[in-house]
Symmetry: C2
Subunit: 245 residues, 2 copies
């Protein structure tokens, strides 16, 4: 297999700059996506780490290259990079990057796809230099993982935001919930099925508590609706689990 | 202030057994709630750690006692323990206890209420022997914290369950999301307002992704509804935040 030395990363966002740091063992250059100044079309790998809708445009601007060209998006199909004679693939780190936070890259799962077997091998080899968890995933699988992460991360963050609103309106610091939140997550990720460790008024069928929470949320019809819908969903899931057992 | 030596804990659930361990510095006894066998009515404190609806009944069974009687519930008002001449209060640890998991008690927030000042002081002193974070909270405040924890913990666990369902149906291990989930939580609890670090298709207004996720959830009308409602709520919150800034 080809030895990889030089990697150019096109992008200036959080993913690009974090990959730049994580791939420090290689001869790695960070390239401005607007000008492509300094791009080496003889590099071994060119990573396109820009917003989803800009990937195609950047790929066109690169033009002919002997490099493996790979994008880093969870939701964009591999085909967007397809060109006659081109080696291409996907190099997707599943993480929510912020510029400030230091991250342990070894624990970030990478999902790799190659247009051909050799390309996939090379990209997996590079990912394995960074992370202990490297998977092969085609575009369909990446889409599923991305959707699951919307439930597990984006929606969860929103609920934490609502929880914080409720507390801060009553001058209670959000930090009082931190140990409980951490324990909830620990429990959920250490079980085969988080539904099986569900707690709270909905799964207990405690309608008295539920209706007192409805009263407390008066003036927030949107949060009342969310509360009821999530509680109903918890009850339905409980009943489904019961039937199965 | 009175020196506390003997504490009897009535209960056999997770909270009771964990408090039994956490209060090991005292002369502590765990009492069967059905028989009250061995209950010392001259103990300094009697903790009632049973289901909400059984608290009143157990309190009646205790009868006359010189002990401070306190329940450990987040949702039950202090008044349930009121009796002429009785010292009573609430001793509420905010945590999701499981029997198996070892817990660092020093990090669990305790919310204390006493029917009189002296009782409150004593209960806070005992809680401070266990935990670094002890708050005074009346029944109204406890109810608010409990409701916030339903959003932050019960609902979050349910979303993790859905996320796990989506992945396991496609033979992807739930563990691939663990680093992302942990990072999301870390970010959210370290900010003043989790809404301000919201990521994902809804906050970006990426309708193309949202509608592709709707397609992928076909056959799960309940999850489709949840997805849309949570996404709409994220958009509304985003627009509210924008107006404010």
């Amino acid at each position: 297999m080809k030895v990889i030395k030089k990697i150019d990363i096109i992008g200036r966002g959080n993913v690009a700059t974090h990959l730049y740091r994580a791939l420090g063992n290689y001869d790695v250059t960070l390239i401005n996506p607007h000008t492509l100044d300094g791009l080496d079309r003889n590099a071994d790998i060119i990573l396109i780490s820009v917003t989803d809708r800009a990937i195609k445009e950047v790929s066109d601007k690169i033009g002919d290259t002997s490099a493996i060209v790979a994008h880093t998006s969870g939701t964009t199909p591999i085909q967007v990079l397809s060109k006659p004679g081109q080696k291409y693939g996907v190099f997707y780190p599943l993480q929510t990057f912020s510029k400030e936070v230091d991250i342990d890259y070894t624990r970030i799962p990478f999902f790799i796809e190659g247009a051909d077997e050799e390309t996939e091998k090379v990209l997996k080899q590079v990912a394995a230099q960074v992370s202990q968890t490297v998977y092969t995933a085609d575009s369909e699988k990446r889409k599923i993982i991305h959707m699951a992460s919307v439930f597990a991360c984006n929606f969860i963050n929103h609920l934490l935001g609502i929880s914080n609103e409720i507390l801060s309106k009553n001058s209670i610091p959000f930090s009082v919930l931190a140990p409980l939140i951490n324990e909830t997550i620990k429990k959920a990720v250490n079980t085969d099925n988080p539904h099986s460790v569900q707690t709270g008024p909905a799964v207990r069928g405690d309608e008295k508590i539920i209706s007192s929470h409805m009263d407390m949320l008066e003036g927030h019809p949107d949060y009342q609706k969310l509360y009821m819908m999530l509680s109903d969903s918890i009850k339905q899931t409980r009943d489904k689990l019961k039937k199965r057992n």
